[in-house]
Symmetry: C2
């Protein structure tokens, strides 16, 4: 399986447009020991020819242009992108869909609840169905595996229900009519026994999820926040990390400690928020992560497994 | 008045993600005699401190980062962007609003019909009103001038109703309950007698509009398509330019001929589609435009008037 990390930051990217925290400020003035990052976007392929996007970032246009594998190849209109899989209805995971219009046939897989939020509550998504056979939406049922591609050796995707909260733009009345287990997913994608875990938003790590992650060869895991109170401490206000669905990296209950036993897998933090001190490669937080055997994803990374 | 052209292409940008027309193909392989362009985005300021965005492109995140004048200056959270003016509900003009979230107070001016499409028919826009005093929507009434900024010498914006068709994602039933004169606007922005015309989508040029444009010192005008049948001739299918609200540049009824008398103004084509041959600086179309005294906007241009 080919894996391309086109973007690695949380919503807003790094730097974030209206943020002048020490990370963003020093990145802009050239003194930061670390890299700018666009919003999280991963693409996978069983053969290097046909690609599947994991979510659709608002930065997808530039991310596709930066990745020659995703450029059109045949005829005047073409894309090697065969499908898109959504883990949630978060804007930083779905807005890119609206940039993949231009009458291009697409297969979009999401839970029925996420599909309903996007298609029933948002007229802008009608732009993906201007012609027959344009966007084909296929429901993901959490727990039921499905195949990607129709080749001889398709990828098998297993989905795991993680969180029960919908994004803040979904009204409470609307959320009450949705299935809570369909709010947020993680994926384990299997290519003939080689497994990629894609878990960009994990509110909590229980023993069942630990066991699941133990089967992966590569883990792309929620690296949004370093501490639970990061937003309020850095910018003077904001919810706790766990309140918005992200277990912090550090601390006795953080992911670094909880996942310490998974030493057989390559472990990469993704969806890193602009405020996270582990972005600073000269800082103790980055050192702690690297010493624990973890990597912090960067835009443009590619690997196979 | 300070003017910054942050992006200059039509929807999809140049190159466009799923397009392999001769322009896009040769740009990607390095043989094109011309420049890549992000989607149209213009920012204006009366004083270089407080800025107003004309529309909100899907590329706004990178466009803000590329323009130091738009970076935060004071405190941990800040933006010098004082407001956003929308000319239409086209996705390439409004999607960027959803990237300007992060709890930032914003003033958004649009016609009541455009506001209703976005806020009533699309739950995702609730993300701009997560806290009190976040997005403040102010109605534009076509023909009624309004002030931008509260300084001693505010900019005065005049709006002109141009087209009566709403974007394709707006259902016919919905459109029937909207005001057709509120579908698409052009702006004339006046800074103590110096005037910028912003007309990125013009379906037709009548004598009244010609007279209006004659009062401008700088004209940013619809340069989407070279010919009326450009989409069908380049990629084998698609509507006519005029059918989707764009007068072509060339031909006896094109804008180059019709606006030939406006020699006192600086005249710049914007919103240039990836298929437009005038993007090729070695081609006869580009030469024809330049010989007629017009310019083809490029990302990053800045000027004052």
């Amino acid at each position: 399986m080919h894996v391309s990390i086109l973007g690695s930051a949380a919503g807003g990217g790094f730097p974030q447009w209206n943020c002048a925290c020490s990370n963003c400020r020093s990145l802009r003035n050239g003194s930061f020991s670390g890299k700018a990052r666009s919003q999280l976007q991963v693409a996978i392929s069983p053969d290097g020819q046909s690609w599947f996007l994991l979510n659709a970032s608002p930065d997808i246009r530039c991310q596709i242009e930066a990745c020659p594998s995703l450029h059109p190849r045949n005829g005047t209109r073409h894309t090697p992108i065969s499908g898109i899989l959504l883990t949630s209805a978060d804007l930083d995971q779905v807005l890119g869909l609206l940039q993949l219009r231009e009458f291009q046939p697409l297969t979009i897989r999401a839970t029925a609840s996420i599909r309903r939020i996007l298609r029933e509550d948002n007229s802008v998504f009608a732009t993906l169905n201007r012609i027959p056979d344009q966007a084909d939406w296929i429901d993901i049922v959490p727990g039921q595996p499905f195949q990607l591609s129709s080749g001889n050796a398709p990828l098998i995707c297993h989905s795991f229900s993680l969180a029960t909260h919908y994004p803040s733009y979904v009204s409470q009345e609307r959320a009450a009519r949705l299935v809570s287990a369909e709010a947020s997913l993680g994926f384990m994608i299997d290519d003939q026994g080689r497994r990629l875990a894609y878990f960009p938003a994990v509110p909590d790590l229980d023993s069942q999820l630990l066991s699941t992650l133990g089967e992966a060869d590569v883990i792309l895991f929620d690296g949004t926040f370093w501490t639970d109170d990061e937003l309020s401490s850095v910018r003077g206000g904001g919810p706790l990390a766990r309140e918005i669905g992200h277990i912090p990296v550090s601390g006795p209950e953080g992911s670094l400690r909880k996942l310490a036993g998974l030493t057989n897998a390559r472990r990469i933090y993704v969806h890193v928020n602009n405020t996270n001190p582990m972005l600073n490669e000269s800082g103790p937080e980055y050192r702690q992560v690297r010493d624990a055997g973890w990597e912090v994803a960067e835009d443009g990374w590619q690997f196979t497994l």
